[in-house]
């Protein structure tokens, strides 16, 4: 995939040297996708444990709207605002975990429901886009470092932290076994239920964090924007599982996949294919990514 990525970059650079191969384009790509990186990391925890979380984009949207509503409309200070937004993410995670782990409903059903609910809730809190989010947050997120806005580095740092958790801690190993074979994990003394609850709390929290970062990056809170993060996150997570540690969901692979996908989309858009290409590209990538990782694991098995 990294090879294809390089070919893609070179190809687009030759085709559109004046727009694609510019520093401006690189910084745009790097920073605009940091939020997607964080949402994808959020999604990795439930996916690694063989659970789905379709409410990540709803949680992101809720946190985003809460930041705008509390900070701008109700004139709260920015720190308590962020605390409330993150707490909201944890609450969503707890609700998901309650239905999935305690009541034993399939996670895909529960989170489809909660995700849709949250989309409605965000609109109920505020129907229109709110501008004028705290300068402090905007600066913290957009302040350029080496010419690239700070949020790119946040995504990068969080990826490294998650990588450490996934591959260097017992938590990561248990997480993998809960996903690979729950029964084996249980018989070896792993607290499977606790792990499953934790992954939903983590995905709720990180999705909300992504919403806070997005609020700073936009300087505004738009209740309708969050849906555009769901499918790309899934596409990146699955595509990412075919590199670095093939066959397993892994943070660094996901980071690469996010930028791989956006490179393709940006390039195609600069070639003159307009907005619809994004959905087509992400949709195709998701199915192909899963198909490729299946084929890869089948080859290893034989």
């Amino acid at each position: 995939m990294i090879g294809v990525w390089i070919v893609m970059i070179i190809g687009f650079s030759i085709a559109r040297p004046d727009t694609f191969a510019t520093w401006g384009n690189v910084t745009t790509i790097a920073s605009s996708q940091a939020v997607l990186v964080i949402v994808t990391l959020a999604l990795l925890f439930p996916l690694a444990a063989s659970e789905f979380d379709l409410s990540i984009s709803g949680t992101l949207g809720l946190a985003l709207v809460l930041v705008g509503w509390l900070n701008v409309v109700h004139e709260w200070a920015i720190l308590p605002t962020i605390a409330v937004a993150l707490a909201a993410g944890l609450i969503v995670g707890a609700v998901n975990a309650f239905f999935v782990v305690v009541i034993d409903v399939e996670s895909i059903v529960v989170t489809l429901g909660t995700g849709t609910f949250l989309g409605g809730l965000a609109l109920a809190i505020n129907q229109t886009s709110i501008g004028g989010v705290s300068e402090d947050l905007v600066n913290a997120v957009q302040h350029p470092l080496l010419g690239i806005p700070a949020l790119f580095y946040y995504g990068l740092a969080l990826t490294l932290i998650c990588w450490y958790v996934f591959s260097c801690t017992p938590f990561g190993r248990y997480l993998y076994f809960v996903g690979a074979n729950r029964n084996v994990a249980r018989l070896a003394g792993v607290r499977v239920a606790r792990m499953r609850i934790l992954v939903f709390l983590l995905s709720g929290f990180l999705s909300a964090l992504a919403g806070v970062v997005l609020a700073g990056s936009l300087g505004a809170a738009d209740p309708t924007i969050s849906n555009s993060y769901l499918l790309p996150a899934f596409a990146a997570a699955f595509l990412g599982s075919s590199v670095i540690v093939p066959g397993r969901f892994n943070p660094i692979g996901s980071l690469i996949a996010v930028y791989f996908l956006v490179t393709g989309i940006t390039g195609l858009e600069l070639l003159g294919l307009s907005g619809w290409i994004e959905q087509i590209f992400y949709g195709t990538s998701l199915v192909l990514a899963v198909a490729i990782s299946r084929l890869a694991s089948r080859r290893r098995a034989s």
């Binding site: 260097c168 801690t169 017992p170 990561g172 190993r173 248990y174 993998y176 076994f177 690979a180 074979n181 029964n183 084996v184 994990a185 249980r186 018989l187 070896a188 003394g189 792993v190 607290r191 066959g247 694991s297 290893r300 098995a301 034989s302």
Partner: protein, 506 residues
């Protein structure tokens, strides 16, 4: 010849798993295909079933007709070759009839399925194989052996219209309780009686001597011999399979001491109709057995906290535990290790590496602060794999890439490494070849010699008779007899398992 295969070879990467194997199957014969795990048996069967493509140069004739290779699964059936896989591939929630007819309904006027006619035909087919059950019964309500027969009937139905077909049975008895096996044997004779050839892949030598006319033995991917069974006994077969006379399969007997180490008191729970109590002494090996579903396996899992008991006490190493509150985590902390049956379902994660599988219960001992010490973990696993003669002893391989016997050895290493104060095992030799079986027995006996009490739940009556000091026989959810000393023989166990069966069922 109903099937004649020539020069079957298969290579996975640099590994040659099958070399120029020839196989002839005559009409009306049962032909045993034998070999240790990893000898190439499964690969050969998979080529014949159309899952693997053989290397170029292979030739295959079915029913006297040359067949193009590689086969696809559908092709094989068209040419008169059907396969019954170990897992039987039946849909448990559907009826027998639906299972028999999957994919090949005979429709009238193009679309309506004439269920009544179908049922009549199915009933006739089943009863000719000694199975008098309603075709509307769902498969999950059948006993294991009945399911196996349904799978055979279905395979034969697929070959309808073929006169001289071949049927491959891939370890049909691996998961069967012993008491039903004669039914299956009768069904197999019915198949050969119709002129079909049956290729029987199995680990059970007593089945081969009882049932097969000829055998083909594979070793390291090559054919060692094809011989008439009448001139061979089980020892002769073992010698062909492992390539040398095997030392005694079972280690010499030993003598347990008198001190009670593990004690179960009034264990109650689902499938147990009476409280179960058990005292295991230092160095003692105790067997739990019975027909499948009589509760002996449940009792074992409850002792390890893997299934919830409703009441009971468990004492080990001076501590008393409430069985109703036991879970695998607490059981492990208390010093109990459970080696469950069904390796890749309960034992380990197939796609995880050997290291990851082996160190899972002992992972906290490889952590410094928050960090996993992977090099240390890998070294420890490597040493364990060598110690348990796992082949290949490469800690980075996925568990599923090993042969069954080696997987089982690796999983035994996993549980031995927890330093258990008592070892519980369920079907420890399931799908394991003779060579590995001997090593497993040796390890179990050694652990017991060091003082650890061992409880093994199994339906391998012969093994229990050889390995155990005492055997508890279960019937209808409770212990009906405890055999030991001169009473502890395979025949006695079988007798105790089956006794009163008619009245108990009524």
């Amino acid at each position: 010849m109903v099937l004649s295969a020539r020069k079957m070879s298969k290579q996975f990467g640099p590994r040659k798993v099958l070399r120029d194997v020839d196989l002839d199957l005559r009409g009306g014969e049962v032909h045993g295909l034998l070999g240790q795990n990893g000898s190439g048996k499964s690969t050969l069967v998979k080529i014949l079933a159309g899952y693997h493509a053989p290397e170029p140069g292979a030739e295959l004739e079915i029913g006297g007709q040359a067949v193009d290779l590689p086969l696809s699964a559908g092709d094989a059936v068209e040419h008169g070759l059907a396969v019954v896989h170990q897992d039987l591939a039946l849909a448990p929630s559907l009826s027998i009839l639906e299972n028999l007819r999957i994919g090949r309904y005979q429709t009238k006027a193009g679309w309506r399925i004439p269920w009544r006619d179908e049922a009549r035909r199915a009933r006739a087919a089943l009863s000719s194989f000694g199975l008098d059950v309603s075709p509307y019964k769902s498969v999950e309500d059948l006993r294991e052996v009945e399911r196996a027969i349904v799978a055979i009937v279905r395979a034969l139905e697929q070959l309808e219209g073929v006169d001289e077909g071949a049927l491959i049975l891939d370890e049909p008895t691996a998961y069967l309780p012993r008491d039903g096996v004669e039914h299956l044997f009768a069904a197999i004779h019915e198949v050969t009686g119709r002129g079909f050839g049956v290729l029987l892949v199995t680990h059970r030598l007593e089945e081969v001597t009882a049932l097969a006319d000829r055998v083909t033995v594979l070793r390291n991917g090559a054919r060692v011999a094809t011989a008439e069974v009448s001139g061979l006994d089980e020892d002769g077969l073992v010698e062909l399979i492992v390539g040398r006379a095997l030392e005694e399969l079972f280690p010499p007997a030993h003598h347990p001491e008198s001190e009670v180490v593990l004690e179960v008191e009034d264990l109650q729970g689902s499938d147990l109709t009476a409280p179960f109590s058990l005292q295991v002494r230092r160095s003692e090996i105790v067997g739990l057995t019975g027909l499948v579903g009589t509760g002996y396996e449940r009792a074992l899992y409850m002792m390890a906290g893997a299934e919830r008991a409703s009441a009971g006490k468990l004492r080990l190493g001076g501590a008393t535990h409430d069985a109703a509150r036991l879970d695998p985590r607490r059981a492990l902390a208390a010093g109990l290790a459970l080696l469950p049956a069904n390796r890749l379902v309960n034992g380990g994660a197939g796609e995880a590496t050997l290291t990851e599988n082996v160190t899972l219960p002992t992972l906290p001992s490889f952590v410094s602060k928050t960090r996993l010490q992977k090099a240390k973990e890998r070294r420890a696993t490597h040493a364990l794999l060598r110690d348990f003669s796992v082949e290949p002893p490469n800690p980075d391989l996925p568990l599923a890439s090993l042969s069954g016997g080696n997987q089982q050895k690796a999983l035994m290493a996993k549980w031995f490494s927890t330093g258990p104060q008592a070892l519980l095992m369920h079907e420890p030799t399931q799908g394991v070849d003779v060579g590995a079986r001997r090593q497993l027995f040796r390890r179990i006996r050694d652990l017991a010699e060091e003082g650890t009490p061992v409880v093994m739940a199994s339906a391998e009556y012969g093994e229990l008779a050889q390995m155990c000091d005492r055997v508890f026989v279960f019937r209808d959810g409770r212990v009906v007899s405890v055999l030991s000393g001169n009473d502890l023989t395979e025949d006695r166990i079988v007798q105790q398992c089956l006794l009163d069966r008619g009245s108990a069922a009524a």
